[in-house]
Symmetry: C2
Subunit: 296 residues, 2 copies
């Protein structure tokens, strides 16, 4: 870890990841749109950049962790964006989940200025970010993956180089198709069980270890039964990721019979003001269409 | 295991389960519609019943393991069915996956003749049946579950008493909602990855350990990539189980947004003559609607 590191985007995920870089001895400068969020990290020893061009002038490796494609674009290429200060041969590592096609365009635009880019979206939730056990799906050139690896290993447990620019984002979307699908089955299965008068805890116990088993069933099933909608991963973000899936799938001609439904259901929950609840609250959309309630 | 045991239905599952009873020292009589399938078990020491009434006269505990609701009904109440020979206080244990409502009616009809019934559908595939590691979801009276337990423990690893008559069948259908849903997500995710030009093995590796992880992803994902459609569980049976889900859900008013789609897709594969392939071949239905092929 002998290069100076910058971190832009100190949300729940970003601040925990930046903290892990700091703990591991990285020479770290941070930036966040809302300055107050920098305080904890600065108190812990990080430098504070006055703006994004200053951050870019400070650091050779720059991590970005924000919500959506336009946020990444603004941080990179907007007025007063990183682009105004980036060093030659700098490396931008984008840990946000954003459009794979846009990612390819960003990487090309940076390459024209002799700046490298990796897409490195993360999975594993706030616990994974805090504990440094994230799964990180990396797209880009092998040499730059090598360069970023010591830093990524501080933040994640499983780092997979999955292909060229955008491949990390594509793999993250594959992950989200699977996650959202498992939420639909979980909701449908538990409402069916509820309507049939089954004991839901006993039911989960009976089906969790066999061919029906999944991370979602084990970790979110008990939460659904207790109607505990606190987020491991928020509906607002799950909905955004599914929109990326549908857009990308449309360009590629890939079928999205299940993902289209889960998108619509998350969208409806968002419209009801439930966007900050956990993605396992998908069952609530099924409750609205059936007037059966789980855990009654 | 001090009661005489009968076993009707010696398919892939039934014959392996009967073999495990025999291995454990059960005093076993077998019957199968196609007599040739009895030969191995008879050679291994089982008795051979000339017909179902004879089987019922021989045994105090009778296991049934056949395909669908009408098969169970015929074995129990048909001409020359078990009903013509059942002993007072006998126990019928139905390991087939059939209609929960019909199961309740069967149990009632048997109770009128002082015969007990348990529904005890199984999960875990042919390997589970062979190794005695099935999950068994049992519905019925606690006292009879107690009585059947020594025999069930020879065939299964996880035996869960989930409720009264029909609750075992309901729980199995919950299991099948989850399994079929996971097959839809798997197919959709892999076709998306394929269309996006990802390395599919690398993709599976990157997403299998996190929140997207499931038994299906780990066990069937690699099979799909190799286009190996050999069945762990056949489409013909998966389709039948989903029909039971949809019928039961309709009676209960439970929503089946995902299960309805998977049913239709399995139905279409059946119509194409692929009913004996494994349920992970669901992806082939998505291939037909998208003209993208996985593992090309």
């Amino acid at each position: 870890m002998n290069e100076r590191v910058g971190f832009a985007g100190l949300g729940i995920m970003g601040s925990a990841m930046a903290q892990n870089l700091l703990n591991a001895g990285a020479d770290l400068t941070v930036w966040n749109r809302t300055p107050s969020k920098r305080a904890t990290l600065v108190a812990a020893g990080a430098s504070d950049a006055s703006d994004l061009p200053a951050l870019a002038r400070e650091a050779a490796i720059l991590f970005i962790c924000v919500s959506d494609t336009p946020d990444v674009e603004a941080i990179l290429f907007g007025d007063n964006g990183l682009i105004e200060g980036l060093q030659e041969d700098a490396l931008v590592v984008d840990c946000s989940t954003v459009s794979p096609s846009a990612t390819k365009r960003f990487a090309e635009r940076l390459a024209n200025q002799s700046v490298h880019m990796l897409d490195a979206p993360i999975s594993g939730g706030s616990e994974g970010a805090a504990n440094g056990t994230l799964s990180i799906m990396v797209g880009g050139e092998a040499e730059q993956v090598e360069r970023a690896l010591p830093y990524l290993q501080v933040m994640g447990k499983k780092i997979t180089h999955v292909g060229g620019h955008g491949a990390g984002q594509m793999t993250k979307l594959v992950n989200q198709i699977l996650v959202a699908g498992s939420m639909l089955s979980l909701g449908e299965a538990l409402l069916f069980a509820q309507a049939g008068g089954l004991d839901l805890e006993r039911t989960l116990e009976a089906v969790s270890d066999g061919a029906a088993g999944s991370w979602t069933l084990t970790n979110r099933g008990p939460q659904v039964i207790k109607r505990d909608w606190s987020p491991g991963f928020m509906i607002d973000l799950q909905e955004k990721d599914l929109r990326l899936v549908l857009q990308e799938a449309d360009e590629l001609g890939a079928p999205t019979l299940g993902s289209s439904i889960t998108f619509q259901l998350y969208r409806s929950l968002q419209r009801r003001g439930l966007g900050t609840q956990g993605n396992h609250a998908l069952v609530r959309a099924l409750e609205y269409v059936s007037s059966i309630q789980v855990g009654e």
